[in-house]
Point group: C2
Chain length 438, copies 2
């Protein structure tokens, strides 16, 4: 890396060929899965009107929005009128509002593209990063959750993530849980935020916070934490939730999703997780999070969010979606270096007089779909050109010196074995084409 | 389209499925060609540090840069510290400066991605639009021009543009032309800008401007315009250029490129155009522009620009590139509507009890790579679900009513012919798979 002035801006990245190809493979794997499920691609602009974005992500989120200065005579005002998109959900809400009847019903869309957040950059945290979302807008069928979960799970597998667990819960089940344990309705939301910390904090600390910060009485807090963390927590929750109509409804949502998606997601890859809360309060039904061994936190998450699009300025339509943390997954796949693509044939140029022939060999190969390159350097030394062929990871190199040229022949060098074979110019394409197909 | 508040920002576009797929097909066609030529993909961030961009595009260009406001405590200053990229060339210069020795030599890269310019939006002119560039950095071989021109021409054909002409000239030939006609060196640049207007203005008007605005004497101006617009202009120019060493050198560049690329670009698709000037003054060698019948202006252009990367803050390396106007080409390809993709199988759901079966049919098809959708609406009416299958352009619809379900069968409907066939559930996949392969 050269001096800092040539590095990309803080929190952003340049993707050279190997990394870019690895990313594209991952995105393409997801696209193929989503297309098979009948999801349609959507691409919206990088920026939106400022008022489209502000007020949608809370005070903390608003601070992270990259704002675009007005232009021309208005630049001096120091005011912004646009902003880089912060996620793919607000643009979806705008599109649903704008194109309503032109869209299929329900509207099943996927989007894979960059978003921008002025977060403090850190390991695995970027200011420009790619999100990968599938959403279904306009259907309240429980099949939607199953379709979205199956599509997300298939996409994870296609991306190369085999070992994961989808933890399922329901907003209604959580509300029911609070009712059953006698948590007053006005303290339920806060209590759930605290309960969500059980994956990171000791049960006793969570119980203490429920009492001190959330106003639950000691007995309720301890019983709740103890039941939720018990070895048979799932059974205890199932039993408890039956005592609340809303809890029973939430449990039915969870069970329907397990029943429908379970057989396709795969044995042991999906289960009821009664203490899964999810931080975002816009979910209205089933919620889920995907965890994978060795990766802290979650690698994907989603759920039903029936009124969010209305809250974001769109019409009041039902919606359900799954967002896959592609940056975390790509990060976990490891360096792309060992997957670098090769070219098929490197054509050396041993003499100015043979340039036309060299270009001709390359063009014939390219027409047939092979990747071929001609040496573009000034050197006419064989060693230098063979090093170039090796650096380009060519499978074969073509050498044409004076003796080959005089004999209307070319030497084909296998770059892996070093074997060389002289072939007539007339038979070169056929010979190479069959070698390359092997 | 709904109310204006939901439209994308002025000069930007939402791409729904059909348009996005058409765009992606065009980009993918170009990518495949570039990869066959051994060009490597590069992706840089959407924004750069402000100082990386300012001063690179002239005063007019600078005004069109979208600047990003500082954040947090600095937001109130009204100052910008970043800006959306204005083209793909400045980021290339930065990358060459930053990664120098990590890049292959020469560095052959392609980039297809959005750039942003705060231009006044108009027909075919956008504030967010895609550029498609190939460049070779670090080789002064004349093979580079041939490779770049061949790659660009192949990309145009792959994108669906068959009928085009590549007009070739050389900066050195233009300099020689001015010398031969006795235009003083300090008036040559201005005179060339005027001469470039010959494709839009009458010869007499151009000659008058050469006298009045550029200070040429009457006789020189008239002779120059007359020779350049003559039926045998090419021959006259070839003859004239031989009288200037620089002109002869430029002509040799042109002829070398015609000789090398001509056989591959195709008969009549490439020719010497002695009055081609190109507005940009950073070209140093061969220059070219691609014109196509029915499309005003040019659809692609390029040339050698040996010192631009240094001027843009990078090292002093030779460079040569080709930029394809993909937005103009996509615009000329016409509406994407008639190329809408279909899904393979639409699975209807005639009864709640058959949901599990319906999902199972879809999943089996998806596993085999077919695109299948399950009806997600609330209606259980056949007519409504068949309309949905038709709207989704499904090739086949699966129907399972009470009689089919009782018989463990499914009716397969050919959506084009309306033909229906009852198939046992056990044999469904095999039957459908073979129908879909036809």
């Amino acid at each position: 890396m050269a001096s800092q002035q040539f590095e990309p801006p803080s929190g952003t990245r340049d993707f050279l060929a190997a990394d870019l190809r690895q990313r594209e493979r991952v995105f393409q794997a997801a696209r193929r899965v989503f297309e098979r499920y009948g999801f349609e691609p959507l691409q919206t602009p990088a920026f939106e009107r400022l008022e489209t974005l502000t007020g949608k992500y809370g005070d903390e989120g608003d601070k992270l929005i990259f704002k675009i200065l007005k232009r021309g005579a208005h630049e001096a005002s120091g005011e912004a009128d646009m902003a880089l998109r912060y996620d793919l959900t607000v643009p979806l809400a705008r599109v649903v509002a704008a194109y309503g009847s032109q869209l299929p019903t329900p509207y099943k869309r996927y989007a894979i593209g960059p978003v921008w957040r002025a977060d403090r950059p850190g390991k695995g945290r970027f200011r420009e990063f790619t999100q990968c979302d599938v959403d279904v807008v306009g259907s309240s069928s429980p099949l939607v959750e199953a379709e979205v979960v199956c599509a997300g799970a298939d996409a994870l597998v296609a991306m190369g993530v085999e070992d994961f667990t989808i933890l399922i819960n329901s907003r209604k089940a959580l509300t029911g849980l609070m009712q059953v344990y006698g948590v007053p309705a006005d303290r339920a939301a806060g209590a759930l935020i605290t309960l969500d910390k059980l994956d990171k904090q000791r049960p006793a600390d969570v119980a203490a916070e429920l009492v001190e910060a959330r106003g639950l009485d000691q007995g309720t807090a301890e019983k709740l934490v103890s039941d939720v963390t018990a070895d048979d927590a799932t059974d205890r929750m199932r039993a408890a939730l039956k005592d609340s109509p809303e809890g029973a409804e939430g449990l039915a949502e969870v069970d329907r999703l397990l029943e429908l998606a379970g057989p396709y997601v795969g044995e042991g890859r999906i289960r009821f997780a009664p203490n899964l809360v999810r931080g975002l309060d816009y979910y209205t039904g089933a919620i889920w999070e995907v965890v994978a061994p060795g990766l802290p936190g979650s690698i994907a998450s989603g759920g039903r969010y029936d009124h969010l699009i209305q809250a974001m300025g769109g019409p009041d339509v039902t919606a359900c979606g799954f967002s896959i943390g592609v940056e975390r997954i790509i990060g976990a796949l490891g360096a792309a270096g060992d997957q670098t693509d090769h070219i098929d044939v490197a054509v050396t140029v041993m003499d100015e007089a043979y340039v036309t022939d060299a270009l001709g060999f390359a063009q014939e190969l390219r027409r047939a779909g092979w990747a071929a390159e001609v040496f573009l350097g000034a050197s006419r030394k064989l060693g230098k050109q063979l090093k170039w062929a090796a650096d380009r990871r060519a499978r074969y190199a073509l050498l044409q010196g004076a003796s080959e040229h005089a004999a209307e022949a070319v030497t084909v060098r296998d770059m892996e074995t070093g074997d060389q074979e002289r072939v007539s110019v007339g038979g070169l394409f056929t010979a190479l084409d069959s070698k390359l197909r092997m």
